[in-house]
């Protein structure tokens, strides 16, 4: 087979299985032009070295030359967790530990964690009781409690790490959607995050035709803050009419005195 040469004006990008017709002054119908353009591409594919395979002829495509622009921005790298940051600073290397540890009591190898490990709750048949702790002290319950505490702390740290990592990548939550987000509190009931709720309420209050000015409020509903309006104070010394200020004060005084009657 004679080596096929790509005719001038054509570019073949094997990685993207594309052929570009860059000739100037192309003549002919699009169908004819396209048919002509397919030929270099097919030749190029068949000129690739064939890989061994039982099922079919396989070729390995090289990397494409044409790079499509990214649709989305490059994702930021995952933020380091608190420990990773610290370890990096101090130069602590990761040490891989064995899964099985020697248990002195039995002389056998037990897993470091999980079922059958030394920390497992079902391991202890007898636990020492301290007289100083009193009658109600239950060492088994104490162990269970401590384990729960550890788990709680760890999940909290894990979540804060995740939060820190997601801070850069997360788009700003639309405050109105904050109503859907609920975290289960200690009693198991779901709470609405306070900050989002305030913002959502403010938005809901002014989302009426009259911007919330004439709406009936529910009992204990906080007054809508007039957002975006700067406080305008009277001038300290009204040179033109100090009488004006007096008038204003008098009006207010009258109103109050009338109200008291």
């Amino acid at each position: 087979m004679t080596t096929f040469q790509i005719p001038p004006g054509y570019e073949v990008d094997l990685g993207n299985l594309a052929a570009f017709d860059k000739r100037v002054g192309i003549e002919g119908t699009p169908v004819e032009v396209a048919t002509q353009g397919v030929e270099p591409l097919v030749h190029a594919i068949f000129s690739l070295p064939v890989l061994e395979s039982d099922e079919a002829k396989l070729v390995s495509l090289p990397n494409g030359a044409f790079h499509l622009p990214r649709a989305k921005p490059i994702p930021k790298e995952r933020a380091l967790t608190k420990w990773e940051k610290f370890a990096k600073e101090k130069g602590i290397q990761k040490r891989h530990r064995d899964r099985l540890v020697l248990d002195d009591a039995t002389g056998e190898y037990v897993p470091r964690y999980g079922k059958g490990s030394k920390n497992a709750l079902d391991r202890d048949v007898i636990l020492p009781h301290k007289e100083s702790m009193g009658e109600d002290y239950d060492p088994f319950a104490q162990k269970r409690k401590e384990k729960k505490q550890r788990i709680k702390e760890n999940t909290k740290k894990h979540n804060s790490n995740l939060g820190r990592a997601a801070k850069g990548r997360r788009a700003q939550i639309n405050p109105v959607h904050a109503l859907d987000v609920g975290k289960a509190g200690p009693s198991g009931k779901k709470f609405l995050p306070k900050k989002g709720l305030k913002d959502s309420l403010a938005i809901a209050q002014r989302s009426t035709a009259s911007a919330g000015r004439f709406d009936q409020k529910v009992t204990n509903e906080p007054k809508a803050k007039l957002q975006g309006r700067k406080k305008k104070f009277q001038t300290i010394v009204d040179k033109k009419a100090l009488g004006k200020e007096k008038e204003r004060s008098q009006k207010i005084a009258e109103r109050i005195l009338m109200g008291r009657k």
Binding site: F233, Q234, I236, L242, S249, Q250, E254, I256
Partner: protein
């Protein structure tokens, strides 16, 4: 320093009206010159117009006080009257209470006025009214709120509280730190 907004003025006047009632107008319409209220650092000052104009020449940070401090706005925008306005309250008070010499010191230490200490009380004072407390020599000692109306006072037991203490002259010594003069 700035003038009070309408809301703030309403709050201040309402508080004052509790003690001086219709005489509130006399505070605004003084015969011997125009006085006005000004706000500086959450404190309300009653100051003559001339003094106020002079005070505009002082930088805001450097201005400690002007005129008479009537009271201050708390963090949550409630208004509290201060002892320093006693002079005016005493002059224009509508309801007055005179206490016996025996319980004068007790009141000046910040205690409430009991029935035993009550000397005189103006007629038709209702429950919860603002009153100015005087000693038998007609000297204003402080102010407070009535715990009982005049009628109830007569029936009250000796140890019942008659006037709830709010401010007294002793505060000049006790609360030196928080007094307006120490805003320096």
């Amino acid at each position: 320093m700035r003038p009070l907004t309408e809301e703030e003025t309403t709050q201040v006047f309402e508080k004052l009206a509790k003690y001086i009632g219709p005489n509130l107008k006399k505070l605004i319409d003084t015969p011997d010159g125009s006085y006005c209220f000004r706000l500086q650092k959450d404190r309300v000052y009653y100051v003559s117009e001339r003094t106020m104009r002079l005070a505009t020449h002082v930088a805001r940070d450097s201005l400690a006080s002007l005129g008479v401090c009537f009271g201050k706005f708390t963090h949550h925008k409630n208004f509290h009257l201060h002892i320093s306005c006693l002079e005016y309250l005493g002059k224009y008070a509508t309801h007055k209470v005179w206490i016996k010499p025996s319980s004068e010191m007790s009141f000046l230490y910040g205690n409430h006025v009991l029935k035993t200490g009550l000397g005189r009380i103006t007629e038709n004072t209702e429950h919860g009214a603002g009153v100015v407390v005087y000693n038998m020599g007609d000297m204003a000692l402080g102010f407070g709120l009535t715990a009982r109306s005049t009628v109830e006072c007569r029936k009250a037991a000796p140890t019942d509280i008659v006037v709830l203490h709010q401010a007294d002259l002793g505060m000049y010594l006790r609360s030196e730190d928080s007094s307006p003069a120490s805003a320096l």
